[in-house]
């Protein structure tokens, strides 16, 4: 069981990185971006590309994060920006199109097969309580932790971060205070997609890379966002960890193939019991 919890924390870190961006764009632009999983996959494959050029791993991660941020901003600029006047559902359809586009471009370039970042076999370290953990996994946890701290500082301290929180909390309110919405949207895509890239890379490191990997994490990150309350980055952090740990612990009882079904079940439970999520605002719609 302790081993499963550690695995859960690793998966949780990855889901958290994916869900922060999703919850912010969901809160600010008011639409569920179904392409977010595939943005994660795109980041992971970019990293593979840089590793192929013999770039050191950490540099490759940072480069991929920057380029993925640009990619997110580009997609917003080409498609979503022009549809913002329409209902949120039109944006949702557009995002499904973008998702399939990204996924298949990845498959076109890198092929449909499974790939690993490195072929070397890592020896797991033995810790108390029979826990075994690989150096890569320690790296994932540590790096995710650092990134989350950085996000926290950004949201609390910087002007743009504060505006972002205000905007995702209440679009109208922010309009009254006079926040330059377009600038914040730009930064939100950048931040969200950079984190998504990191999440995707860590997922590739922990499991493997394949064009469908973004699809595999889509339900878990949505579950994390809804569990945490849409628009709440701190909720997404808590939600992501809960989903990650529940998914891994569930494998003690049921077929591991059903991991995403587990997160889906949690999602449905949340919708039934408290649709606004743990940290969300209470809101009743007719």
């Amino acid at each position: 069981m302790p081993q499963l919890i550690i695995n859960g924390i690793i998966m949780g870190s990855i889901i958290v990185l994916g869900s922060i961006g999703l919850t912010l764009t969901y809160g600010i632009l008011n639409f569920a971006n179904f392409a977010h999983g595939d943005i994660m996959a795109a980041g992971a494959y970019l990293c593979l590309f840089f590793l192929g050029l013999n770039v050191p791993f950490v540099v490759a991660v940072i480069l991929s994060m920057c380029i993925t941020a640009g990619l997110g901003i580009l997609i917003d600029w080409c498609i979503y920006r022009k549809l913002r006047e329409k209902t949120s559902v039109v944006l949702l359809i557009a995002s499904i199109g973008a998702a399939l586009f990204l996924r298949n471009v990845v498959q076109l370039i890198f092929g449909p097969q499974l790939v690993y970042y490195s072929s070397e076999i890592q020896m797991a370290k033995k810790l108390p309580f029979g826990i075994r953990i690989k150096p890569d996994e320690i790296f994932i946890i540590a790096a995710s932790f650092l990134l989350i701290i950085a996000v926290h500082l950004f949201l609390k301290r910087s002007r743009i971060g504060k505006a972002m929180r205000a905007l995702s909390d209440n679009m109208q309110l922010a309009g009254v205070i006079g926040i330059e919405t377009e600038k914040i949207i730009f930064w939100t895509w950048g931040l969200g997609c950079a984190l998504a890239a990191a999440g995707g890379i860590f997922l590739g490191l922990e499991v493997q890379l394949r064009p469908m990997m973004g699809w595999d994490v889509l339900l878990p990150i949505f579950a994390a966002v809804i569990l945490g309350g849409i628009g709440s980055p701190y909720g997404a952090m808590a939600g992501g960890m809960i989903i990650g740990i529940s998914q891994e612990v569930s494998t003690a009882f049921i077929n591991p193939a059903y991991k995403s079904v587990v997160s889906f079940m949690i999602l449905i439970l949340v919708l039934l019991i408290k649709p606004s999520g743990i940290f969300g605002k209470k809101e009743r719609l007719a």
Binding site: F101, V261, L271
Partner: protein
């Protein structure tokens, strides 16, 4: 000549099955504004339901009751509607995109269950030898034409059912919900009830389409029902044809299916013409992603520049 003709007939049958799906989605999205992303799941449920009921006994899967095909198709629709009912209960009172996420989740769960529970539907190997209607004629050259005729009759029937239902006070309430839920509730309509009705009826058509697919291809496996690709195709058909327009929906299904399978036909041809096995192998490899890229680009272009589809909504008076 007969080769091309039989190709067109198979094309027509599959496009017709997709047209039924598109009509179901049009009721949900085009007229009520419900965002169903679980089409593949409802389709799969229908396909498996009738396979279990109508096939003879087999150790490879559940059921095998050897029932009449007509009955199997009926149950396909009913089971699919039931799943829609269960998914609608917790989500239809919430914001519209919750339904999207929930239907996507149910479609993926259904696929995973059929993939992993081998006792249920023989897992990834799928179910084969699903009976065809009037099987004794199936060797005849005109058999597919007969099948096409059946599909055609069903489409006409569904078309008139939806048209008559929509051009009524009932349909007026659905459209009002699509336009503004809050206003519709404020003038005394039980919005939840109507949304549930629309979701269930639309999904029943999707289940029926799944059942027809089952009997046409005679073979089903979970791979066919991949939530995103499959569902996406139906959405593109509806958006291209113009949501809120039933004839447009049917036309969209035929058009997109023609593009979809036409592109396969073309790349196949290219791969065969090329004498270098390396080149033809490469063409086969890139064919599937290229098709999806093509379709997704078409979708984005339609959304950006022709948001009402090629045909648009008919003004209903």
């Amino acid at each position: 000549m007969s080769g091309i003709l039989s190709y067109l007939i198979t094309l027509g049958i599959m496009a017709g099955i997709f047209a039924i799906l598109t009509l179901g989605l049009n009721l949900q999205w085009g007229f009520t504004g419900l965002f169903n992303v679980g089409i593949a799941g409802f389709f799969a449920i229908g396909a498996y339901a009738t396979a279990f009921l109508t096939k003879g006994p087999s150790p490879e899967h559940l059921g095998g009751l050897g029932m009449p095909i007509f009955f199997g198709l009926l149950i396909s629709a009913v089971v699919s509607g039931l799943i829609a009912f269960l998914i609608g209960l917790p989500t239809l009172k919430l914001k519209e995109d919750y339904l999207a996420i929930a239907t996507l989740g149910i479609a993926e769960s259904i696929r995973l269950i059929f993939t992993n529970e081998a006792w249920l539907g023989n897992g990834n190997r799928g179910i084969k030898d699903i009976p065809k209607p009037w099987a004794e004629l199936s060797a005849a050259p005109y058999y597919n034409l007969l099948f096409l005729l059946i599909i055609f009759i069903i489409i006409v029937f569904i078309y008139f059912f939806i048209e008559k239902s929509i051009h009524s006070p009932w349909g007026r309430v659905l459209k009002a919900i699509r336009e503004d839920e809050l206003v519709t509730a404020s003038v005394g309509k039980n919005v939840f009830r109507y949304k549930l009705e629309s979701l269930v009826i639309g999904s029943m058509f999707m289940g029926l389409a799944g059942g027809l697919y089952s009997h046409y291809i005679s073979f089903i496996s979970p791979d066919v029902f991949h939530p995103m690709q499959f569902t996406f195709l139906v959405w593109v058909m509806l958006i291209l044809g113009g949501s809120g327009n039933n004839l447009g929906a049917i036309a969209g299904a035929f058009l997109v299916w023609a593009i979809w399978s036409g592109s396969e036909f073309l790349t196949d041809l290219l791969a065969r013409i090329s004498t270098d096995p390396k080149v033809s192998g490469m063409i086969t490899n890139i064919q599937s992603p290229l098709r999806i890229i093509l379709i997704s680009v078409i979708l984005e272009l339609v959304l950006l520049y022709r948001p009402d589809g090629i045909f648009g909504e008919k003004k209903i008076l």
